[in-house]
């Protein structure tokens, strides 16, 4: 029962927030929720698949750029968002085939995904010349792609309704809860449980007759698609995409969100993102040169004091306080 109560509370909170917050805080929270989707995509492949990918920033960027290109040229943002998701999932599947079917080790997989992101950073950085354009959408190099259309609701036969910040907040909030629910369901399904078995002992699972390669590939593609969705929403939110999304800092930041929040808890990814991003924002407004020093110090402290992340730490504390035995792993028939 508690699970459904939690969901109900979450939906009510998301619905009520805009009434309470100032317009800027709504806009701010919208982008934090978009970042949470990106963190969620990493938590799926890393927390549950046991595979650390440094490439989620690449799928985020591809999702955003595809949204921009299709959005500017076709004018339909729904089509643009689907293109973003499909483009990112496609890249993930391609990358997955290249690595999982090549039996590449975990450390090398992380480095390959990071290198792909850095290549995209390098290549997209060189498209400043006007001739680098897809239709009317100029890639724009380091300055990035501008005048990307805002997200709009399109119904057949009716003029597209461009979302104002509050409507965008609801759409993004809804999508976040939907993806959270879907990933929870996926993780509990038989596919998800086999994935968990692969994470714990890949050889044993293989000797039981499961092919780990395509399962990892499918999970990685789904995770890439979620990151692409986040990228598309981000482009629709900021009307702007630039190669900095592919930087090493952004790639590491996604990992930091999930580590701070706590791996393998899905909610951890969302909590970690909100904590780290609001801290960065506060520091940015605080003063000029202390930002990086403070953020660096916080990261070191979290690693030393909360190695498994905040959510498991908080969960553990709550359990210790309430004296409840840790819940036995449920086994849905």
């Amino acid at each position: 029962m508690t699970a459904w109560a939690l969901w109900a509370v979450a939906v009510v909170v998301v619905a009520a927030l805009p009434a309470v917050l100032s317009l800027f805080q709504i806009v701010q929270l919208t982008v934090f929720m978009i970042y949470s989707l990106l963190a969620l995509s990493l938590d799926l492949i890393w927390g549950f698949g046991g595979i650390l990918s440094f490439g989620q920033a690449a799928f985020f960027g591809v999702g955003g750029y595809f949204y921009g290109i299709v959005g500017i040229n076709s004018g339909s943002t729904t089509l643009a968002l689907t293109a973003g998701v499909a483009g990112a999932a496609g890249l993930a599947a391609l990358l997955g085939y290249f690595t999982f079917y090549g039996r590449v080790g975990a450390m090398y997989f992380a480095v390959i995904t990071l290198t792909v992101t850095l290549i995209l950073h390098q290549v997209m950085g060189t498209t400043a010349d006007p001739r680098y354009a897809v239709g009317q959408a100029r890639l724009g190099g380091y300055n990035g792609m501008t005048n990307i259309p805002s997200l709009a609701l399109e119904a057949p036969g009716r003029a597209p309704l461009t979302l104002d910040p509050v409507q965008l907040f609801y759409v993004v909030g809804g999508l976040l809860l939907l993806v959270l629910a879907l990933t929870r369901a996926l993780v509990r399904s038989s596919f998800g449980r086999v994935l968990g078995a692969i994470r714990e002992d890949e050889l044993r699972t293989e000797l039981l007759g499961y092919d780990p390669r395509w399962r990892k590939l499918v999970t990685f593609a789904i995770s890439g698609g979620i990151a692409g969705l986040a990228g598309g929403l981000f482009a629709g939110w900021g009307n702007f995409m630039n190669p900095q999304v592919f930087s090493m800092f952004q790639s590491a930041l996604v990992v930091i969100w999930v580590m701070v929040g706590g791996r393998g808890t899905l909610y951890g990814a969302v909590v970690g993102t909100l904590v780290v991003q609001s801290l960065t924002n506060y520091l940015g407004t605080a003063s000029v040169t202390y930002t990086t020093v403070a953020l660096g110090a916080v990261l070191v402290v979290i690693v030393l004091l909360f190695p498994r992340g905040l959510v498991p730490a908080i969960g553990g504390a709550v359990r210790r306080v309430s004296g409840r035995r840790p819940p036995a792993p449920e086994f849905a028939r």
Binding site: Q122, G125, T126, A128, G141, Y142, F240, N242, G284, T285
Partner: protein, 409 residues
């Protein structure tokens, strides 16, 4: 530049206040909130920190003269951490939450292009106070920095006459570099010179070995450098290290903005010719007084007062004059006042804000790096108009524009 204790604590104190009070605009009689968005940390802070100092100095200067409309200005200074996503978020915060009367900021062209859509969405006056590649034509946007027509249009004819016709262009590989390199071609053709080669270098390249070999092989009369950022300083160092400094002269439209002449030694770059509206060494009454007050406030060992710092100073004062003239903070009134051909006695000399293009007519000075890690003025060109933007952009005749023109051949 030591961040002295008192200065640091004051910033922290002010900020905590700013952050905790949910930015409800102060009542009619209280202070006027104004927003500034620059890079205090990250790779771009070599440009940002002098601009942040200049912003605070300008606000205090305006407040010292009674502020505007009888009200003091309250500065909200945010650090965008050289991250374009943060530019977009903070611009939204300043316009939407703090409801600033004016937004100033952005250093790289990328950050400006991140801020412009937000300004368009939440409709407020935005000043971009930094040298850039020109062409921005936006009713809400005022670009007070120097543009290629003013810099390259003057520098290239002089360089062709002084050194010779064959020019080798090295540009930072992003919009600024590409568009400025195109303008180099335009003015080179006008001056009867020939472009030997043109190369675009990514911002994080540190090893210039292959580039220097190609320059050596092409044997140009002069190298036109449009390099940007800390890493590109390595080019000048390695160029000198191979002994080419004496052989092939360098002229630049970007050298000095990041205090490169401080990081490099005189033996490496003495004689390098640059062109800007402002130099700390300018001999005029306004500048001597300004530099004295600057050193009084920030300490005599301040590395160097850059052209960007002066542009920021101009931007704030032009806006303050416009508000006084308009007698209100309302956006359209202020815009009309800004489009009334304002002139301002800047430390660089008298400048005028061109109504049609929202750009500034500068006095431009040719100077070369000297032995004291500073610049010596060679020649002065008064009232050089930003023709690259004025030819294509008339915001009086057709006001609702918000795009960036690029040079067409």
């Amino acid at each position: 530049m030591e961040m002295n204790r008192r200065e640091a604590l004051k910033t922290l104190g002010a900020a905590v206040g700013a952050a905790s009070v949910p930015g409800r605009a102060s009542a009619q009689s209280g202070e006027i909130s104004v927003g500034s968005l620059l890079d205090g940390t990250g790779p771009i802070n070599i440009y940002g920190l002098p601009m942040i100092d200049s912003t605070k100095f300008a606000i205090d200067d305006i407040n010292a003269q009674g502020g505007v409309l009888g009200r003091k200005l309250r500065l909200i200074q945010l650090d965008a951490q050289s991250d374009n996503q943060i530019y977009a978020q903070y611009a939204t915060k300043l316009l939407v939450e703090d409801k600033v009367a004016v937004l100033m900021g952005g250093i790289t062209s990328a950050s400006r292009e991140a801020v412009r859509p937000v300004v368009g969405k939440y409709k407020q006056v935005y000043f971009y106070n930094e040298q850039y590649e020109g062409g921005v034509c936006d009713k809400l946007v005022f670009c007070t920095g120097v543009t290629p027509a003013q810099q390259l249009g003057t520098l290239i004819p002089w360089a062709v006459k002084e050194y010779g016709k064959k020019v080798y262009t090295l540009a930072a590989d992003y919009n600024y570099g590409h568009i400025s390199a195109d303008w180099v071609k335009v003015f080179l053709r006008k001056a009867g010179g020939t472009l030997v080669n043109q190369e675009f270098i990514p911002l994080d390249v540190v090893n210039f070995d292959s580039v220097i070999k190609r320059v050596e092989g092409a044997k140009p009369d002069v190298v036109m450098s449009l390099l940007v950022g800390g890493n590109h300083i390595a080019f000048y160092r390695q160029f000198a290290a191979t002994g080419l400094k004496g052989k092939i002269p360098i002229v630049s439209a970007t050298f000095g903005l990041g205090n490169e002449q401080v990081v490099l030694t005189p033996e490496e770059v003495e004689g390098l010719v640059v062109i800007y509206p402002y130099f700390q060494e300018l001999e005029n009454a306004v500048n001597r007084e300004w530099v004295r007050r600057w050193h009084q406030r920030f300490g005599a060992n301040y590395a160097y007062i850059t052209d960007s710092a002066c542009t920021v100073w101009n931007g704030w004062h032009l806006w303050a004059m416009a508000v006084k003239k308009a007698g209100s903070l309302e956006r359209d009134a202020v815009t009309k006042a800004l489009e009334s051909g304002l002139t301002f006695k800047s430390p660089e000399g008298e400048i005028t804000l061109n109504p049609e293009s929202h750009h500034v007519v500068h006095t431009v000075h040719l100077a070369k790096v000297n032995k004291q890690r500073g610049f010596s003025i060679i020649k002065t060109f008064p009232n050089v108009a930003p023709t690259d933007t004025m030819e294509v952009c008339d915001l009086i005749k057709n006001p609702n524009q918000a795009k960036q023109y690029t040079p067409k051949f």
